[in-house]
């Protein structure tokens, strides 16, 4: 930082220089979500005596993990300028398949792998419709949202599947080094997503497609291939969430995850992403998901009626988007 940034503001032809650390932080897409998170966190801590208890904070993170994991796949879709509405039902379908296979005596490892593959297959189907058949993502995933929900209900007959092997509880209830496994899984998913988005070519293409799909295609990037991959990832993260929730409940719930797609979208947008694509940060999504989680938890602790909670959450999302709007890329 030998060059003071103030000189470049006057010099009409400034020399090449990198932004200062403070400016980088301020322009980081994570900055505003983080400020919002801290603000809500402080309010909740002041209003509720129990909010800061370690048990409660762990609880918040664990509850937020499900949406947090789903929101990773949603981020990929939204960064490309798309969307995936099918994540909730795909989560439920993958989870019930895992439960069903285990109840039928399959070893948990195999059941989990098959469940994850099912999620990826569903995602790949979404991706193929979007990328190769060139159908709009919102319509495609609206349709597969219904299909996945229906298949889950058909498979289970509408009843939860229980009687799962005790060892399976590890993913939803276990602890490693004092940290809850759902939180660990979530952090692992974010770590991988971060590396993919920021340090691989594929990650760069994700943003490029969202920024200008036509230019990306004309410059010689195989756009359809990467879109297929994006929706496959979204299916996979939904299935991972299915694994966690099924293990947590120790039963396969065909109706789980109703409305989760909207929470996941909210997390991504609260995280500072542009809904039109091309701009956003995966760590912002993590902050967004945790922001939603502390809102839920804090409002519960305050004894706010669930009906009013929805109103408050909606209002805060609007406020956040309003504050963050128009920030230049």
């Amino acid at each position: 930082m030998t060059t003071p940034s103030s000189t470049s503001a006057i010099n009409p032809k400034p020399r090449r220089q990198r932004r200062s650390r403070a400016s980088r932080l301020l322009h980081s897409p994570v900055f505003f979500p983080l400020v919002g998170f801290i603000a809500v966190f402080i309010v909740m801590a002041l209003v509720n005596d129990n909010f800061l208890l370690p048990n409660n904070l762990t609880n918040v993170a664990r509850q937020g993990a499900i949406i947090g994991i789903i929101a990773v796949g949603m981020s990929f879709a939204i960064f490309t300028g798309g969307i995936d509405l099918s994540v909730g039902p795909v989560m439920a379908l993958s989870g019930t398949l895992m439960a069903g296979l285990m109840a039928a005596g399959w070893p948990p490892t195999v059941a989990v792998i098959v469940g994850l593959l099912l999620g990826m297959t569903f995602g790949a189907f979404n991706g193929a419709c979007v990328a190769f058949a060139r159908m709009p993502p919102i319509i495609v995933t609206l349709a597969t949202m219904g299909i996945a929900r229906g298949l889950g209900l058909i498979y289970t007959g509408g009843y939860p599947i229980s009687g799962l092997p005790a060892g399976f509880a590890f993913f939803g209830r276990g602890e490693v080094m004092g940290i809850q496994v759902p939180i660990l899984i979530m952090l692992l998913v974010y770590l991988v997503a971060y590396i993919v988005l920021h340090h691989t070519s594929f990650g760069r293409y994700v943003y490029a497609i969202g920024g200008n799909e036509e230019a990306t295609r004309l410059t010689g990037i195989r756009v359809p291939r990467y879109k297929l991959l994006v929706y496959t990832i979204s299916g996979l993260t939904a299935a991972i969430a299915g694994l966690v929730i099924t293990s947590r409940l120790m039963s396969g719930q065909p109706n789980a995850g109703t409305g989760f797609e909207l929470d996941a979208i909210a997390a991504v947008v609260l995280g500072g992403a542009a809904i039109a694509g091309g701009r956003g940060a995966i760590l912002g999504t993590l902050v967004g998901a945790m922001l939603l989680a502390i809102l839920n938890n804090g409002l519960n602790l305050m004894g706010v009626s669930p009906y009013l909670q929805d109103v408050v959450k909606g209002g805060i999302i609007l406020l956040a988007i309003y504050i963050g709007r128009g920030r230049s890329a």
Partner: protein, 515 residues
């Protein structure tokens, strides 16, 4: 007293001093050229005049009355009209709906008075002496007619000051003449016009006075009759530029074919044949809409075709997508920078490296940011991008610098064939000359170039061979001394009547074309 006066206007954007005490005076019934390189501050000055930006200091006076334009609407209401460089029409709406968008005349019930709108639109077109059906949807119109609709729209509020920001850039010579006829009409009616163009000959043909800007500062105001192109360029760039085209080299060996393509476009009956020699610059000339860009897109597999047979260095190649073309070493710099070329939210470095990211992969398959940045900065230096840094968001750069970023992307990609579609559109003389020199350097390295251009001097000054397009087909091939502006225009306009611009019937010219 001048109808329009801008007095000592200054404007600073974060990191850039865009304007410093710039003044501009335009009389009623005058066409006043505003001249300067990209980034000289022309567009910023005009945006201040139109209320889009507010000046840090200085004054805008109309008829001697100081104006405070806090918005575009305010400026319009005060009689300032502007035709932007980028079209602002809504393609799906009719001409008349576009003209009155946002201020439709209404009746007592609040419903739109279509009859009144039509009447006013027809009156406007009559005033401009142009023949456009006000009820046709804008996307059916030619680029030139869209331009005229923009002018009509700008005038519909009784504008006394009209700004034309590079109106001729997308137009063919014939269409430019039609535009100038309209401008002369308006001059006779006492409208004060500010005309921005990079074409010297246009300034000398149509303008009365010219104001030159350089690096955001006022340089001079001159009577066009008292000056010449050389003097203006010297004032613009601060040095004398005699010839913007690099020296001609002997034509490359014709027998050394790099690319041969037989392409029949979808819905066409005839196959076009394109041959490209090593180190050659092959021009695609023709009117806007004559099918040159479509052919370029077809050559990289980005446009539907009925038939495509291509041979690259003697080997048959099948191109299904631009990615296939890139793999074979064929790259395209598309016509429309913002829509097809740049990823606007990306930084310069990210835009440049996008199609060769794998070069910066570490052993683990991750991108080395440092190597990527260094390579991008080296390329930016090579094509002389003026930007605060490689991490500057590309959308904030001027047009010429944006184009250089797009060009830089292809330089280290190892392409054997590069297709430049309108590489210098909206770019100043200095940058143009740099781009031409760059193209010559590339061909000297054995790279073959296809250049699509609507600027005839560019075609005649740079190309070794020229294919003339007319109504979707190659109708003539010119080489050597046959590459003359007149000859090109004859082939480009042959058998086409201006009264029938839609060209519903295929002209017979294709049948007799030499192949």
């Amino acid at each position: 007293m001048a109808l329009l006066a801008l007095e000592k206007v200054s404007k600073t954007f974060p990191g850039v001093r865009a304007l410093h005490e710039v003044s501009l005076h335009v009389e009623a019934g005058e066409i006043h050229a505003l001249l300067g390189e990209n980034g000289a501050g022309k567009s910023t000055l005009m945006k201040i005049l139109c209320g889009i930006h507010q000046p840090d200091s200085g004054e805008i006076l109309i008829d001697g009355t100081p104006q405070h334009f806090t918005s575009y609407r305010r400026a319009c209401a005060a009689g300032v009209g502007i035709v932007f460089q980028e079209f602002s029409l809504i393609p799906g709406l009719s001409v008349v709906d576009n003209i009155f968008l946002g201020r439709e005349p209404r009746n007592a019930l609040g419903l739109i008075r279509h009859g009144e709108m039509l009447k006013q639109a027809n009156a406007l077109f009559e005033r401009l002496d142009i023949d456009i059906d006000p009820q046709i949807r804008v996307h059916h119109l030619s680029v030139a007619d869209q331009q005229f609709v923009e002018i009509a729209k700008a005038l519909s509020l009784d504008a006394r000051v009209l700004v034309l920001d590079e109106p001729t850039a997308p137009l063919t010579p014939t269409e430019v003449e039609r535009l100038f006829a309209i401008m002369r009409q308006l001059r006779a009616q006492g409208v004060a016009m500010v005309f921005i163009s990079h074409h010297m000959e246009e300034i000398f043909e149509i303008c009365d006075r010219v104001t030159v800007l350089r690096d955001g500062e006022y340089v001079a105001t001159l009577n066009v009759a008292d000056t010449d192109a050389g003097a203006l360029v010297e004032r613009m760039v601060g040095r004398r530029v005699d010839n913007i085209f690099p020296e001609r080299q002997p034509a490359p060996d014709k027998s050394d074919l790099v690319l041969e393509a037989h392409i029949r476009m979808a819905g066409r009956r005839h196959t076009d044949h394109i041959r490209l020699g090593r180190g050659e610059i092959l021009g695609f000339a023709g009117l806007v809409g004559s099918g040159r860009s479509e052919m370029a897109l077809a050559m990289i597999g980005a446009h539907p075709v009925a038939e495509r047979r291509m041979t690259l260095e003697g080997h048959k190649v099948t191109l299904k997508s631009p990615a296939d073309a890139l793999k074979r070493g064929i790259g395209l710099l598309p016509e429309n920078r913002k829509q097809q070329g740049l990823i606007l939210p990306f930084t310069c470095a990210d835009n440049i490296s996008i199609n060769h990211l794998s070069r910066f992969h570490t052993a683990a398959g991750l991108i080395s940011r440092r190597r990527e940045r260094e390579a991008a900065e080296a390329l930016m230096d090579r094509v002389r991008v003026k930007a605060p840094g490689s991490d500057t968001v590309v959308g904030t750069l001027s047009g010429g610098n944006q184009q250089k970023v797009v060009i830089a992307r292809w330089l280290e990609r190892g392409c054997r064939v590069l297709i430049f579609d309108e590489p210098t559109r909206g770019i100043d003389v200095g940058a143009k000359s740099e781009i031409y020199a760059l193209m010559k350097t590339l061909t000297a390295q054995g790279i073959s170039i296809v250049m699509i251009s609507s600027e005839l001097p560019e075609i005649t000054g740079l190309c070794d061979r020229v294919l003339v397009f007319n109504h979707g087909h190659v109708v003539a091939e010119l080489a050597g001394d046959d590459i003359q502006a007149g000859t090109i225009m004859t082939h480009a306009t042959r058998q086409i009547s201006l009264d029938n611009p839609t060209g519903a019937a295929e002209p017979a010219a294709h049948l007799e074309r030499a192949s």
